[in-house]
């Protein structure tokens, strides 16, 4: 039977761990709510932008655009979006695993580079040959999550787009956790550049309005494409941010449950030990009294 004092110590330590995990869960729930709100806020913007762009590109050939340069080049950049903090279940591990599988399998014969957003991803790739070097891009972007708004994200997206346009990379992929709901996140790899040039058929079905274009169709399209790219990049970050809090919330919920379970078992064995000690004591007293009487 376990030592009474030992068990008591374990009960206190498990109890305080449970307090921490349940507090973390609550904090994550609040942050998740805010992160989800941010996604909802940007949706009208993204939808409208997409609609206008589709409307325009239906009648225009966008394959001439600098962002559509689709070469067979072997320089691939993966932008791995992870988080700055751990304790979020498989959140960071999944995204790192996804990036590794892309590097080793699909793009094994390409020259891969990895740009990490978030400390955990950076830790995983910092000491590998794939970690980004020899470009004017920043090596990591951990502080981006401190102020996650469009104003801070847009310059980063511009830098990446510039690196693509100046032929430093031939393909750019975003590897991040897509937000499904609070409990489910999918690690996905999404093509960022070159942009997909859709055929005109998709947009044609809609009733066409005779718009005035100011200054010109071509100008607006070339102005809108970078905007929609920045929006896509921002959306990936927001998704990943919401996923992070969702994953942490789920992980902490499970941890709290486990701690509860453990606490129950410990309490049972504590009470058993206590009861055994009392029984022992009575036995001793009775035996002592018997010895005196005899």
């Amino acid at each position: 039977m376990a030592n009474l004092k030992e068990v008591r110590n374990r009960i206190t330590s498990v109890g305080s761990t449970m307090q921490i995990t349940s507090a973390m869960k609550m904090v994550s729930a609040a942050k998740l709510k805010r992160a989800q709100d941010a996604i909802v806020q940007m949706r009208p913007y993204a939808d409208k932008l997409k609609e206008i762009l589709q409307n325009l590109s239906a009648s225009l050939d966008t394959s001439e655009n600098a962002y559509a340069r689709n070469t067979e080049g072997k320089n691939v950049l993966f932008i791995v979006i992870s988080s700055n903090r751990g304790l979020a279940g498989g959140f960071n591990a999944n995204v790192v695993k996804k990036a590794w599988s892309l590097i080793r399998n699909e793009y094994a014969d390409s020259k891969c580079s990895v740009l990490c957003i978030g400390k955990k991803g950076n830790d995983a790739f910092r000491k590998t040959e794939y970690h980004i070097h020899g470009t004017d891009l920043p090596h990591h972007l951990n502080e981006l999550f401190d102020h996650l708004d469009f104003e801070h994200v847009a310059p980063v997206a511009e830098k990446i787009m510039h690196a693509f346009v100046t032929n430093q990379f031939d393909k750019v992929y975003l590897v991040y956790n897509q937000f499904k709901n609070a409990a489910v996140q999918n690690a996905v790899a999404e093509r960022f550049l070159p942009i997909e040039t859709q055929s005109g058929a998709a947009g044609q079905s809609k009733a066409q309005v005779d718009y005035i274009f100011e200054p010109s169709k071509e100008f607006i399209v070339s102005d809108l494409i970078p905007r929609s790219l920045k929006t896509q990049f921002y959306k990936a970050l927001l998704d990943s941010h919401a996923s992070e809090h969702g994953a942490r919330m789920t992980a902490m919920h499970k941890a709290t449950d486990n701690a509860k379970e453990m606490l129950r078992d410990l309490k049972i064995s504590y009470n058993k030990a206590r009861q055994a000690a009392i029984t022992n004591e009575i036995l001793e007293i009775v035996a002592g009294a018997e010895a005196l009487n005899g």
Binding site: E151, A154, F213
Partner: protein, 103 residues
């Protein structure tokens, strides 16, 4: 008397019909990726088009224009002026519904 009234009604009907046709104000939304800056009605609007300032009144023809850095100036129904700074964007005007996608 009764006929007169009927005629009056007919005239009234015509007026309401024509005033329906000529909407006095425009619905306006200014959206950024982070939030909705403005939603409501406006009497007139001045935006910084990429090749010069554009003024928009009601019943403007459908238009898509790109915007550069500058100020969006809204005059609402009470002739109150509101200003928003934008870094660029695009504006869509369609049937008195105006959407400004700003950065």
């Amino acid at each position: 008397m009764k006929i007169n009234q009927f005629e009056n009604e007919a005239v009234n009907f015509q007026i309401t019909k024509s005033s329906n046709f000529q909407i006095k104000e425009m619905k306006l939304e200014i959206i950024t990726p982070d939030k909705k800056l403005f939603e409501g009605t406006a009497k007139s609007l001045v935006v910084p088009g990429s090749e010069g300032s554009l003024g928009i009144l009601n019943n403007h023809a459908p238009m898509i224009a790109s915007l550069k850095k500058g100020t969006v100036k809204i005059t609402d129904d009470n002739s109150q002026v509101q200003k928003f700074e934008i870094k660029g964007g695009v504006i869509e005007v369609l049937k008195n519904n105006i959407i400004v996608l700003a950065e």
